[in-house]
Symmetry: C2
């Protein structure tokens, strides 16, 4: 397929780099400052070198991307809440031109799912978003395979930063501030970690799952999720948990009764009690039984691999 990528952060750049090996051609890349367009296929190394040197992917106006002869738009700009702009407008333009869309950006699926469905209904284009939930872990593909109405519940560790902090605190009896600083030094936590440690990121993923699993017209948004973060858990809570053979993890849950994210006590041998930045999702599926899918839930190359899996599926 001919791919246009909006957003040249770690995910957009990794899609650019991986696409040729997976048999797809990138004809346009845009960041907020400009665009590179070549209908015969961009040279990934050249675009990345240009971005490195000049801070923008190319000299064309960012808007030129939408005039390129693309089959699928990859939306990989940073996730925004509420209006989910500018991602939503990008999707609108692509679907308006009957092109397919693959999202790495969580905003539009979490915050504007009803609007997104309305756009899809009026377009010959399709929307896929495997990469928005747990990176490369095939959560969306597995739900699609068994049918959303067959999935009766989802529970999981959906934020690697929070899980790194909690599992380090539990294993080493270290204080939150100490482990957070360590995570920031390692690049596992952002300078402003609130999006991860307050549970927002995990909640967005759960809201996306809730939207996919909803078997009626009910649509979920971040405001519908009950969220508790991990930033107020004292070291003593971890010690008490350990004394009881338990451990604390930030668990996201999607059930027929909605979306909840918060610290939960798990038995230490619970499959959900993963360590480090690992993500894991437990799907309860009628007939198929409970299933655990675990792996890298974030990272540019991992998320890009999920984007390319979506592109492949659209291509068959």
């Amino acid at each position: 397929m001919r791919v246009a990528i909006v957003g040249a952060g770690s995910v957009g750049r990794a899609v650019l780099a991986q696409a040729p090996r997976r048999g797809h051609k990138v004809v346009a890349v845009a960041d907020s400052r400009g665009a590179a367009v070549d209908p015969t296929g961009l040279d990934a190394a050249q675009v990345l070198a240009e971005k490195e040197a000049s801070g923008q992917v190319g000299a064309a106006e960012a808007d030129a991307l939408f005039d390129a002869p693309y089959d699928v738009l990859v939306e990989a700009t940073p996730t925004t809440l509420g209006s989910a702009e500018p991602a939503f407008e990008h999707i609108q333009r692509a679907l308006g031109a009957d092109r397919d869309v693959v999202l790495a950006n969580k905003g539009p699926v979490a915050e504007r799912y009803a609007d997104l469905r309305a756009l899809v209904d009026r377009s010959a284009g399709r929307v896929r978003f495997e990469a928005t939930v747990a990176g490369a872990i095939p959560v969306m593909a597995t739900i699609a395979a068994y049918g959303p109405t067959e999935v009766t519940g989802v529970r999981g560790v959906l934020n690697g930063t929070a899980n790194f902090i909690l599992s380090r605190m539990a294993a080493e009896s270290l204080a939150y501030d100490h482990v957070l600083a360590e995570a920031q030094e390692l690049g596992v936590a952002e300078a402003d970690p609130s999006f991860d440690v307050e549970g927002t990121d995990a909640a967005l993923k759960c809201v996306i799952l809730a939207n996919v699993l909803s078997d009626d017209d009910q649509v979920y948004q971040l405001a519908d999720a009950a969220i508790t973060g991990i930033d107020a858990i004292p070291t003593s809570a971890h010690q008490a948990a350990r004394d009881a053979g338990m451990t604390i993890r930030l668990i996201g849950e999607v059930g027929r009764d909605g979306v909840r994210v918060g610290p939960r006590l798990l038995a230490t041998d619970d499959p959900l009690a993963v360590t480090g930045t690992e993500n894991i999702v437990r799907l309860e599926i009628a007939d198929a039984g409970p299933m655990h899918l675990a792996g890298r839930g974030a990272g540019g190359p991992e998320t890009a691999a999920a984007v390319l899996a979506d592109i492949d599926r659209l291509d068959t």
Copy 2:
């Protein structure tokens, strides 16, 4: 899709029962003694009651199934080695009539993959076999999503009976014969357990994976696998492993150098060290990283759910 099912064991019967809810119509079911055919769609409850009462699914000759107006043949007769008959002939007839085929039977994919590919090449029909490896766990779908050439290795627990026995021996310091008898009482092991405890079943699944991952013309068969079973592991070996913080599991491995199945020492906190009849598969995927997929690797309803996922994918 209009479905014809050959084989009325636990998997075939569960496909019959689940198909209507998943939006598919079963127009024929055959066991070795007869067939039930109804182009307007069979009543699952009625066919199952007939099988219960008379020992055969219907009064028609088994061969009548192939004259039914089906779109996809589900091959769910018992796995046989070598010629993989009569499954192979069933597939040949369906593909010869340009129908699709979904396999629950491991024989044709493990023992006659080259012949199977030759049939597919001459047919407008397609072959899918998610159900042959680890039941409902989406191993084939995930390999297809990321591309077989991107998967650099597979390792896993692929036989629930062997894993039940090993994990019980390890946890309770019980002898092999004792645990085997217990497994037989629980229905977890067959009266003749050799297919499971000698590693044959796990090896067949690994051979299927090796065939799918093979990026050249090399085709694998059971004879190409290096197999060691679990029936000669003394209780003392489990004790020694535990003293070292390890545990023993029957691990199947597929790499560029072929297929191996045998007891392996794992750290007790290794994700592969699952307990009971659980199955788990670790996929090493370029860019996406290592991924663990775990769940119920056997059972009629679970395997049937994988068959129906394949049918859904053929239907889109």
